[in-house]
């Protein structure tokens, strides 16, 4: 029986191009029915891994199994894996209907069945009235939905999305990413979503897989990765954390008995209102040397007497500070987390 925990299993994947190793001994599992994000900066190898899973890049060492079947050496058209490209790759010579019907026609499904499946799909993506349009006459968001429908209509075992939102404006991005999450939950499709945007990854994923330079840095839920980064790279990439060494903590009066290593302090944990009970809290005093209004929040950079610059993020409420103010913020010492 197939264990749903390793519905997709990639083991010891190694990929090199022209002698450069792009993916180094990468292994991970993906659970059935979940949405997993591959998160990492450009050049971290996310898309390369995705293409290997899809079978578009067959020059690699390692093994890939999907739903208990070894697919390592299967051609792309035999894997039952859908993929959404960054460019959407809609067929410009075909209408919306014909684009979505493409895969069903290749499978030589009966006409009535194709008509029904595509019509249903058009209703799901809300483009019933655009069925006879050509891709050139659609907006970016509509094209995106057609691309998703074209893959989903074949009910793939796995749907891969390669930075599918990067060409859209900020508002459409948020709308579409919520829609993708909804499709995923309603249809129960296992999805892998590649992105370099931390917020996007955390907002929609059940699981996040962080990559850097072809290696897996950490895999876990968004909360786990955000609050407990395992490596310095993750700590640095995932949020706007303060990263301090044990000696810095001691200088700031945040504990002297910490073992050597790097520690993170999340800026939103620094409170500028004095807690009712100071038990377990430590104050940090400093001068506001930089501030950025982020909308609902304000980020302050405080320069302490010891010369450290500490970032604090506060809700944008009535009590706001200005540059050069001497302020005091409070931190629950137990919230200081060691990296690793």
């Amino acid at each position: 029986m197939v264990n749903t925990d390793n519905f997709l299993s990639v083991s010891h994947l190694n990929i090199s191009f022209n002698g450069n190793t792009v993916i180094k001994d990468l292994s991970f599992n993906i659970k059935k029915g979940t949405l997993t994000s591959f998160l990492g900066p450009s050049g971290s190898g996310k898309t390369t891994v995705l293409r290997a899973i899809a079978g578009l890049n067959q020059a690699f060492a390692g093994q890939i199994t999907l739903d208990g079947q070894d697919i390592t050496n299967l051609a792309p058209n035999q894997r039952n894996i859908g993929m959404i490209f960054q460019s959407y790759a809609l067929f410009p010579n075909l209408t919306v209907f014909d684009n979505i019907a493409y895969g069903l026609r290749v499978q030589k499904k009966p006409k009535t069945e194709i008509e029904k499946a595509v019509t249903d799909m058009l209703a799901i993506i809300g483009l019933t009235d655009r069925r006879d349009y050509y891709p050139a006459n659609l907006s970016g968001g509509q094209r995106q939905r057609v691309a998703i429908a074209r893959s989903m209509v074949l009910e793939p075992k796995l749907l891969l999305l390669d930075e599918p939102l990067s060409a859209l404006d900020a508002k459409t991005r948020v709308e579409l990413r919520n829609q993708i999450k909804r499709y995923q939950q309603e249809l129960g499709i296992t999805m892998i979503f590649v992105t370099h945007d931390q917020t996007e990854a955390m907002a929609i994923s059940d699981d996040v897989l962080i990559m850097s330079l072809g290696e897996l840095e950490q895999q876990g839920s968004a909360m786990e990765i955000y609050t407990n980064p395992k490596t310095m790279f993750v700590a640095d990439f995932i949020g706007n954390h303060n990263v301090l060494a044990a000696t810095d903590l001691a200088m700031l009066g945040l504990g002297t008995d910490q073992p050597d290593g790097q520690y993170i302090i999340r800026p939103e944990l620094l409170e500028h209102v004095m807690p009712a009970n100071l038990n377990g809290y430590a104050p940090i005093e400093g001068q506001v040397v930089e501030m950025a209004v982020l909308g609902n929040r304000i980020e302050y950079s405080l320069k302490t007497a010891t010369g450290h610059v500490v970032k604090a993020e506060c809700m944008n409420q009535n009590i706001n500070f200005t540059l050069n103010d001497e302020i005091k913020v409070y931190l629950k010492v137990a919230e200081i987390k060691k990296v690793g």
Partner: protein, 265 residues
């Protein structure tokens, strides 16, 4: 605001002069082809369509047309089968190869035809392959620049690699994806390239004449031979040639303007 008046007649005068310069020989040839006798007089002595009859009744005429057609069709097939996949591959998968192809496609322009033929005769003259096959391959290679350029333009703009791969992910085979997704989207560029290739192969003269030492009499060779024996009939043939190429040019113009309109939409 003062609108600057553009002198309209000056560019038009230049265009008119060029048009007269280019059309005069064709008009003269046409009148020569329908003249009875036109020697030592300003105007022809009389008009007749006799030469059209003479030409089409010549037993060498139709076979020459057929030979030229066969040659051109063979070249088009070689171009389709051999060069189209290579240009697709270079454009979609291997841009480095594109650089090399660009260089290769300039070569036929930079080497004079006569040098090329001399080289061909020396290299392949004694090879045990029918010379006609070598001729077809050579003309295909010489026609490559026009075909290459038309297709290169066709591959610009759309994400053909993504489309080709997407079709495969949707269950199609490589060949199926190429036929159903790639070909329809380069149709206009492909047609332009093939028509240019066809026209160039149909009118090829230097290589065919020297390499096969005139044994394979194409329409163009027939035309040059006719000039020495019957000037009037030769001008009839010139007019027919002109009309034929004119039709191809019109189709090309139509294709290219349709393509532009489609891109705008």
């Amino acid at each position: 605001m003062k609108v600057q008046r553009v002198n309209k007649w000056r560019p038009q005068l230049v265009i008119t002069l060029i048009a007269i310069f280019l059309l005069a020989p064709i008009v003269a040839t046409f009148f020569y082809s329908i003249s009875t006798v036109w020697v030592k007089t300003i105007l022809p002595n009389g008009l007749t369509f006799k030469w059209y009859g003479v030409l089409t009744a010549d037993p060498n005429f139709i076979p020459s047309v057929i030979r030229s057609l066969l040659l051109a069709i063979a070249v088009v097939i070689v171009t389709m089968v051999a060069f189209l996949p290579v240009i697709f591959y270079a454009n979609v998968y291997n841009p480095k190869l594109k650089e090399k192809l660009r260089y290769l496609s300039i070569l036929p322009y930079s080497i004079p035809g006569i040098v090329l033929v001399t080289g061909l005769v020396q290299l392949y003259g004694n090879v045990a392959v029918p010379k006609i096959i070598i001729l077809i391959l050579t003309i295909s290679a010489i026609c490559l620049p026009a075909f290459y350029q038309s297709l290169n333009n066709a591959f610009m703009g759309d994400d053909f690699r993504g489309m080709f791969e997407q079709a495969q992910l949707l269950g199609d085979s490589k060949v199926g994806a190429f036929i159903r997704v790639v070909l329809p989207n380069i149709r206009a560029g492909l047609m332009v390239g093939l028509l240019l290739t066809f026209a160039a192969a149909f009118t090829e003269y230097v290589i065919t004449n020297i390499f096969l030492t005139g044994q394979y009499q194409t329409l163009k060779i027939y035309m040059y031979r006719l000039m020495n024996t019957n000037g009037n009939a030769a001008s009839v043939l010139t007019i027919i040639f002109f009309l034929f190429l004119g039709v191809i040019a019109l189709i090309l113009i139509k294709l290219v303007s349709n393509q532009k309109r489609a891109k705008k939409e």
